[in-house]
Amino acid sequence: MIPYPASGLKMLAERLLGTVVPALGSKYAMSDTAMLSMLMVALAEEMESGVARRLQDIEAMAGLFQVAREAGIDVAPTESIAAEQRTLSQVNEIHDGMTAQLIVLHAEVEASDDYSELNLAIWGYLQANAERHKLAL
């Protein structure tokens, strides 16, 4: 059997909401458990497409760093991601490292009129990133 963890988690969340919540004795426990169920659904979605979304971010940030290098800004080389690294936690680590680099680059770029196009491109990336990771909660 090929496991489907995301849909399994969603089903468990639905069961929690449909069966366990109504049987609970206190309003606090009902609200808490309903929220847990909602978070489990969001986690299921993250399990399903979190790696793909982060890889999109990573590719976009690598593009921005390349533009920066071509404009003469010193940006450290970007780590490449081997296939075996593509678990959520490993991709997260690389994503975090590149985001920290992006913050430094953004501060440098916005301080100079010479890099206005790159500044716009970074804002564009931040907006696209926010939309990509927008939660349905």
Partner: protein, 346 residues
């Protein structure tokens, strides 16, 4: 005692209040209230010498959305209670952690009142919305020194209110961020570059004045402003900007706090406070409000991952609220924004 059960609380609070009031006290019912996570909150129905009354117990949690001093919160309730701003009557502040495993405070229950503004009709939103910003304006009109707030919190210089708040929330973000925060970093740089003019006057800043943090009677008035744990002295723009943050518009984006159109809320506040909004400075405070919100959500995420508290509300705030707050900040600051949330134009 570490984490008391409801039975522990029932027993210990009955003993505690019987001693304080020198009366016979029986806890008839006890219920934990879900929602705000700055304190564990319980509603207790009591029989005191044969008479019924309700009290609310606020107990320090293992970790919270907001790390605050309980004495500050209690002191604020005590200072505001005699004024025309309705708050629950503060009864006892207990710093001895041996009784319930953590310090706690007790207040009178505000009966027959609710906090969910989504339940209001269109007329109700208008009525409660008007009261909400009138009360905030009244608070801004009061002299905090006359209220005794200089005994409760530090008195900042008028010209330092914005910079001090910015420094505080910057430190929260830098200390608690689990992942790098590029939107917060850009917003902090913008705030540093564009500090506003000194405060028009020093006021009591509630610190979390929003829909959900007051109680109202379904067919009547606002009967209590709650959750003063982030209160401090500062610029009147701070509370107004926080109250108008688009984060608090869950269903109706054009209504501030799901209650009133933004300009109407501002006009009511101006009339009640006697102050006039400087739109340029106010924009700074709106960006600041979004950064402060983001700092709180980042902090709650850190608490959920590393702290002793594993409440679902911390995980929710750390994830869903951060998500929306980041999008609000991008809406305000990105040169590419279409300003769905008003941007500098509000």
């Amino acid at each position: 005692m570490t984490q008391p059960t409801l039975e522990d609380i029932r027993r210990e609070v009955a003993t505690y209040l019987a001693d304080k009031w020198q009366s016979s006290v029986v806890v008839v019912a006890i219920e934990q209230i879900f929602g705000g996570a700055s304190r564990e909150t319980y509603l207790l129905q009591l029989d005191v010498d044969g008479s019924s009354r309700g009290v609310v117990l606020r107990r320090d949690p293992p970790s919270s959305l907001i790390d605050t001093e309980r004495s500050l919160e209690y002191g604020a309730y005590a200072a505001i209670y005699p004024t025309s701003i309705p708050v629950p009557e503060p009864l006892f502040l207990e710093n001895d952690a041996s009784i319930l495993g953590a310090p706690f405070s007790i207040m009178s229950e505000v009966a027959n009142a609710i906090s969910d503004v989504a339940l209001l009709s269109a007329d109700g939103r208008q009525r409660i919305g008007a009261q909400k910003w009138q009360l905030l304006g009244k608070l801004a009109a009061m002299d905090p020194i006359q209220l005794g707030f200089d005994d409760v919190c530090r008195v900042p210089e008028l010209g330092r209110c914005a910079a001090e708040q910015l420094a505080y929330w910057r430190s929260v973000i830098e200390t608690d961020e689990i992942h790098p925060q590029p939107v917060a970093a850009a917003a902090l740089r913008w705030l540093e570059r564009n500090l506003p003019a000194p405060a028009q006057k020093l006021v009591v800043v509630h610190g979390d004045y929003r829909s959900g943090n007051f109680l109202y009677e379904p067919e009547g008035d606002i009967t209590a402003v709650l959750d003063w744990e982030m209160c401090h002295l500062g610029d009147p723009m701070e509370d107004l900007a926080w109250s108008l943050d688009p984060l608090w518009c869950w269903g109706i984006p054009e209504l501030a706090g799901n209650l009133l159109p933004y300009d109407e809320a501002i006009a009511i506040w101006e009339e009640a406070s006697g102050l006039v909004l400087n739109r340029q400075d106010f924009y700074w405070w709106r960006v600041f409000a979004a950064v402060k919100g983001l700092a709180i959500w980042i902090s709650s995420s850190e608490d959920f991952h590393h702290g002793a508290g594993k409440q679902s509300i911390l995980a929710y705030a750390g994830w869903a609220m951060s998500d929306k707050q980041n999008r609000i900040l991008l809406d305000y600051l990105s040169p590419l924004s279409t300003h769905q949330f008003g941007g500098p134009r509000l």
